[in-house]
Amino acid sequence: MLNAKTRYKLIPYAFLGIPVTIYLIWIIGPMLYSFYLSFTKWDGLTAPEFIGTKNYRILFQDEVFFISLFNNIEWIILFMTIPIALGLTLAMVLNRDIPGAKTFKASFFLPMVLSLVVCGLVWSWLYSPHSGLINEVLRRIGLGALATGWLSNPKVVMEAVIAVAIWRQVGYVMVLYLAGLQSVDQNLLDAAEVDGASAIQRFFNVFMPQLAPVTVIVIVISIIDSLRAFDLVSVMTRGGPYNQSSVLANFMYIEAFNNYRMGYGAAIAVIIFIISLMFIMFYLTRIAREETNA
């Protein structure tokens, strides 16, 4: 039979066999099938009919696609910048030994424990134009003119939904940075202080470079989360009013499962996949590089 050395080499592959098979059947297979479906017209009932690139040609003329894409981009930008700014600020503040820091940390992190669906429902009530907390407070403090139908006014609906996602994310980013701050080298800080660096200089030239790995993780997580944003939109607005708060994932869902255009839905899914892949590849190559470095 095989000699001991070869067997030793093969053992890992034998173990890998099971997960790889599962992965091929449940992840790669369906993915390839989605690619195929995106070239077909399929109502989910009769056999798919091959129509070439027609779905894509329709897609690139579909106004809703561009609204959704734009909304996704807006989501990425807001979802990346605001939680990082707020989360980092909170982390810097709470990293000091102030009384009640633990309580604050816990309460800021708390929204993260809630499922997105729960967040969406709760915030739908807060946003309710007639008796919701937000408009009620605005009216009480004399800013009634700002009160609006947060989820029905097409001008603010997207931002209103993204705000909920941000509200939930800040605590999470804070925790990531708090963990990152543990690894900041105190000696460097002391040295900088001795050298007369101002607080701002210390922050940008000592803290930030050391927090760079955390920042990369936060950015990648934010982008991927933004691209698959679906739950909040689905619960709070279903993309409405008239698609103004539609995002790609929601657009795909409506077309495929509400309008029964499975092929068209698959084409949208492929586009989402390609966009996500770019960021995931960037992240993975970076991780791989770090691993080889380490």
Partner: protein, 449 residues
């Protein structure tokens, strides 16, 4: 440390992933195993998910179990919107539920055409429904003179109002458009918003389009528009938006930010006196607060053009058996039960819906039911409802158009042109289907009992 977490997460996912498999296995075990002889399992999925209908259905299931001691009904209730999305998966699976609720008319015919619904002519024959159901309902359930569907109950649409508000301002029930506008003006002057509406899920706006289009252009034009034989890009459609609907929105005859509310969330405006009327189906009664129910009344949507035949929305819900049903015998039994005089009477009494079996004596109906029935019987034509009369895709885009119009009433021309374009590209491939199935494109039959 990191690896440990990854491994435990993967392990958890794996276990969670397997759970349904085991659960499924167990279920099959009971269905096919030794118990099969004693217990005849029949799976029934329904969309009667509002609290009142849910209660009544639970009671019906108990009644059925009493009558058929060896039957075991596995009954699941799925929320309305989710049900619509799940039905294709049900129908194409190898072991679909044995009985499903569904909408009569084009939405059922779509599946009949795809050969996914069981021919139940034998049930119609044996249960005597060919005599006890009106011709209209029979035609609605038939394709090529074979029956595939059981219409269970139906309801009417009307303008619901709060009698307290009407009494307070001494308002008479409006019968014409001018009278309705005068009522709106009077309410508005007194600080009451004439109409409440919650358009978050959009179909409430579609009701306005249905009625305005039918009253202005006639039901025949309306149905042809639904079937794609007339275009949205037609000056007659534009008239509905610019001459009737738009001015109402502009004058503030509807509550503010309607898209923030689901349909039932807009009811409190009526009960607390901020708004006076709601264009709604009779199921509004199920969600109306009990203490205010005695003040809830309704009238027929006012006539706009007396020269145009009268059309009404009267959606019919019913049941069918999927073609691949695993237990057609028991499924047919359940269907016979749903269509029987006793059950129909029970539903009519408990739920206040109108029922389809002629054998049900009209004395079971209360005053409201008789009045609603009269509205529909007096109509020249009966439509199902916007999203039931056209294709799901066109309904989706059309309703988005209504929502856009609600926000930008000056954009009607652009919106109808867009709708016309969408209709031309998306409805074409199904028009053929609809025309063929709806008996040569004739209007849905009116109910005559």
């Amino acid at each position: 440390m990191k690896n440990k977490i990854v491994i435990s997460v993967l392990a958890a996912l794996f276990v969670l992933g397997m759970a349904p498999l085991f659960a499924g296995g167990q279920q099959e075990g009971t269905a096919e195993g030794g118990q099969a002889a004693e217990q005849d399992v029949v799976v029934y999925n329904s969309y009667w998910s509002d609290p009142e209908p849910k209660r009544v259905e639970a009671e019906l299931m108990e009644m059925f179990n009493e009558q058929n001691p060896n039957a075991k009904v596995i009954h699941s209730t799925v929320a309305h919107e989710d049900f619509k999305q799940a039905i294709r998966a049900y129908l194409t699976s190898s072991a679909p539920p044995d009985v499903l609720t569904w909408f009569a008319g084009n939405r059922a015919r779509f599946f009949i055409d795809k050969d996914l619904i069981m021919d139940i002519s034998d049930v119609w024959e044996e249960a005597g429904w060919n005599d006890s159901y009106s011709k209209g309902f029979r035609a609605m359930s038939s394709v090529d003179d074979k029956q595939y569907f059981l219409p269970g109950n139906w309801y009417w649409w009307a303008v619901y109002y709060d009698t307290r508000v009407f009494d307070e301002y001494d308002i008479e029930i409006p019968e014409t458009w001018d009278e309705l506008m005068a009522v709106c003006e009077k309410l508005k002057d007194n600080g009451v918003t004439p109409f409440t509406v919650g358009t978050k899920y959009r179909w409430t706006a579609a009701a306005w389009f249905d009625y305005l289009n039918m009253r202005v252009n006639g039901p025949e034009f309306h149905i042809n528009l639904m079937l794609g034989k007339e275009s949205y890009d037609d000056p007659r459609v534009l008239k509905v938006f610019n001459d009737y609907w738009g001015p109402m929105i502009d004058k503030g005859y509807f509550i503010e930010s309607p898209a923030s509310y689901a349909w039932a969330e807009a009811i409190p405006f009526m009960t607390n006196g901020d708004a006076a009327m709601y264009l709604m189906g009779d199921f509004i009664r199920d969600s109306y607060p009990e203490e205010d129910l005695e003040y809830l009344d309704f009238f027929r949507f006012p006539i706009i053009d007396p020269n145009v035949p009268v059309g009404e929305d009267a959606p019919t819900d019913g049941y069918f058996i999927p073609k691949n049903s695993q237990n057609p015998e028991m499924a047919k039994k359940l269907l016979k039960f749903f269509g029987s005089k006793e059950v129909q009477e029970y539903v009519a009494k408990e739920l206040g819906r109108l029922v389809t079996n002629n054998k049900v004596d009209t004395s079971v109906y209360n005053e409201n039911q008789l009045k609603g029935r009269e509205i529909v019987n007096a109509a020249d034509y009966v439509a199902q409802f916007y999203d039931r009369d056209t294709t799901p895709e066109m309904a989706d885009k059309g309703m988005n158009g209504f929502m856009e119009f609600w926000q930008n009433t000056d954009q009607a021309e652009e919106i109808t042109r867009q709708a016309g374009k969408i209709q031309a590209t998306t409805l074409r491939r199904v028009t053929h289907n609809l025309l063929r199935t709806s008996a040569g494109g004739t209007l849905p039959p009116a109910f005559h009992t």
